[in-house]
Amino acid sequence: MAEVTEQKVKEPKEPLFSKKNKKLLTDPLADNNPITIQVLGICSALAITAQLKPSIVMAISVIFVLGVGNVVISLMRNIIPSKIRIIVQLVVVAALVIIVDQVLKAFAYTLSKELSVFIGLIITNCIIMGRFEAFALGNGPWKSFLDGVGNAAGYGLLLVIVAFFRELLGSGTLFGIKVLGDPIEKTGLYAFGYENNGFMVLAPMALITVGVIIWVQRSKNKALIEDH
């Protein structure tokens, strides 16, 4: 019998930030953005983007949950029985979300009041379960980490852009600072008869703003337009 020589197929060592890995991080920011291209995670984009501050907190929370969660799932990917993998994934997200929730309650209580249930609802954010299923279950921890951070950052980026326009046009403020003047004392722009656009604060305008961003993005990059 021929001798079975144990030959380890050693993969060539990849540098930490190889081109492929960098793509994992940067692709979801633009050309594969979870909100504008995959149209996931819309619900929270509607709910909390009326102002910049909660949007940024939300973005950071999701980056943390998805980055860490992806690593955890990726490390466990070979021992999770595939029949109960959804439950395992839920437990992981739930644990991480509770950590975020408790940290916010401890260090930024008013903000956590403002975000109310939406931090808890990160669990149901389609992007998170989507990345666990689509990426972390089939890739190593480092790549999963980059993918998680990239996707969450793409989501957060959109949140911040939408919130910027909604807060500026809807309330005339940025981070609560009255950049357009005081609407009651009629200073700045308000002296000329300008008024805040109340529609921007309502949820439909978040959807329309996202729609306009999708429109601009696709007219700039024709490759993104689907055939139908």
Binding site: G193, Y194, E195, N197, G198, F199, M200, L202, I208, G211, W215
Partner: protein
């Protein structure tokens, strides 16, 4: 060289260039187009899109002119310079003074509406390389008629840009829109700047300024320009008689007050077969049915006089037809052929629900008692669904008939 020839030579010069649609549009608007059908002609009809639009504008003109006089009349009445008229031809109403105020306040609205709207249309035509469509001609006339006289012009401009781009162009332009563009513009104004679209200050020119002067310490009487619906929603006494409401001597959006002239426009539209009488009739029926139901609730004493819905519910059912924007919306906007149902049976359902829901919203939403705008927008969304089921029902019926025959 005449202007027409000049335009024609410009058209030939710019043929195929980016600016071509802009010249074509001006040319077609002012004169007949020079283009003739290249391949074999089929049926010739004179009622093209342009003529359809012009007919609607003709039907709107009486409302516009009345609206101008009414703007001045309400203003002068409110500041106490004239007394209320009792007949339709009262000289205190049809005076030059009233017309001057009306022109001063209403014409800018018309100019802004057309200027901004057509600019957006031209821009999109040039970018997308298609001809400028006539669809905005009617929208541009409707918009100034359905806003309060004192609407700030920049707000109107913003709303027009929003309405034309998001309400129409993103769907592919005239004929492809789901929502009525004029109502999209009004809805945008209402949700974005509610203080300028409701309440008791905006409907009469001068009331806002007067309120500011009083706030500044001037010794003046406040002007209350409350609409009939606004007064009813707050359970106040209505100061106007039914004939005032029918003839239109009441505060309200510029062109919506005179039910008489709207009726005239409706007859004109039905006679020229531009507007669908099915939609108008069924909407009126729907409103009457809902009004009768509410009257029934009141006379059965299911609600007491203390209820906040009482005064709107107890309004006589036929008053709903002549107050607020109901008549105007039903005649000129529910009948918009693009956004309404296409099938005849569908039109009955579509119209009936518009009337029904309008009165429902009026009564149960005291914060904003004008329901016809939201009712029409809602039914615009459902119109294709209504059509779908009407068509499916027809197919089913005929399949059955076929089966009976062959069996």
């Amino acid at each position: 060289m005449s202007l027409k020839d000049k335009l024609h030579s410009l058209k030939l010069k710019y043929k195929g260039k980016k600016m071509a649609p802009a010249f074509n549009a001006i040319h077609t608007f002012l004169y007949l187009p020079n283009e003739i059908t290249h391949s074999g002609a089929h049926v010739r009809g004179a009622d093209d899109l342009k003529r359809t639009m012009n007919t609607v504008i003709m039907a709107l003109l009486p409302c516009l002119i009345f609206g101008m006089f009414n703007a001045g009349y309400q203003h002068h009445l409110a500041i106490g310079e004239i007394t209320a008229v009792d007949g339709f031809f009262g000289s205190a109403f049809w005076s030059i003074d009233n017309l001057v105020v009306g022109l001063w306040k209403v014409l800018p609205l018309v100019v802004i509406s057309y200027g901004v709207g057509l600019a957006v249309e031209f821009l999109f035509a040039v970018i997308k390389g298609h001809e400028v469509e006539e669809g905005y001609l009617v929208t541009g006339m409707l918009v100034p008629l359905i806003v309060p006289v004192d609407t700030p012009l920049w707000m109107l401009a913003v709303a027009v840009v929003f309405g034309v781009v998001i309400g129409k162009e993103v769907f592919g332009g005239t004929g492809m829109n789901i929502l009525n563009p004029a109502l999209t513009i009004r809805a945008f104004l209402f949700f974005a700047y509610p203080t300028w679209m409701s309440g008791d200050k905006v409907w009469v020119h001068g009331a806002v300024e007067r309120a500011n002067e009083i706030a500044g310490g001037a010794q003046l009487d406040a002007i209350s320009g409350e609409t009939v619906l606004g007064a009813l929603a707050q359970g106040k006494q209505v100061a106007y008689s039914a004939s005032d409401m029918f003839l239109g001597f009441i505060p309200g959006s510029v062109g919506e007050t005179s039910a008489l002239l709207i009726l005239l426009g409706a007859l004109f539209l039905v006679f020229t077969k531009i507007g669908s009488w099915r939609i108008m009739l069924s909407a009126v029926l729907g409103a009457l049915v809902m009004g009768l139901i509410f009257n029934g609730v009141v006379s059965a004493e299911w609600i007491g006089t203390g209820s906040k819905f009482y005064s709107l519910m107890s309004t006589e059912f036929w008053h709903h037809l002549i107050i607020g924007g109901f008549a105007f919306g039903v005649v000129f906007m529910a009948t918009d052929p693009v956004t309404a149902s296409q099938t005849n049976k569908g039109k009955w359902i579509y119209g009936f629900l518009i009337g029904f829901i309008s009165i429902l919203i009026r009564v149960f939403n005291p914060a904003y008692p004008e329901g016809v705008m939201l009712a029409i927008l809602l039914m615009n969304v459902f119109a294709p669904t209504v059509d779908h089921y009407v068509v499916q029902g027809n197919i089913k019926k005929r399949m059955k008939r076929l089966k009976v025959k062959t069996a």
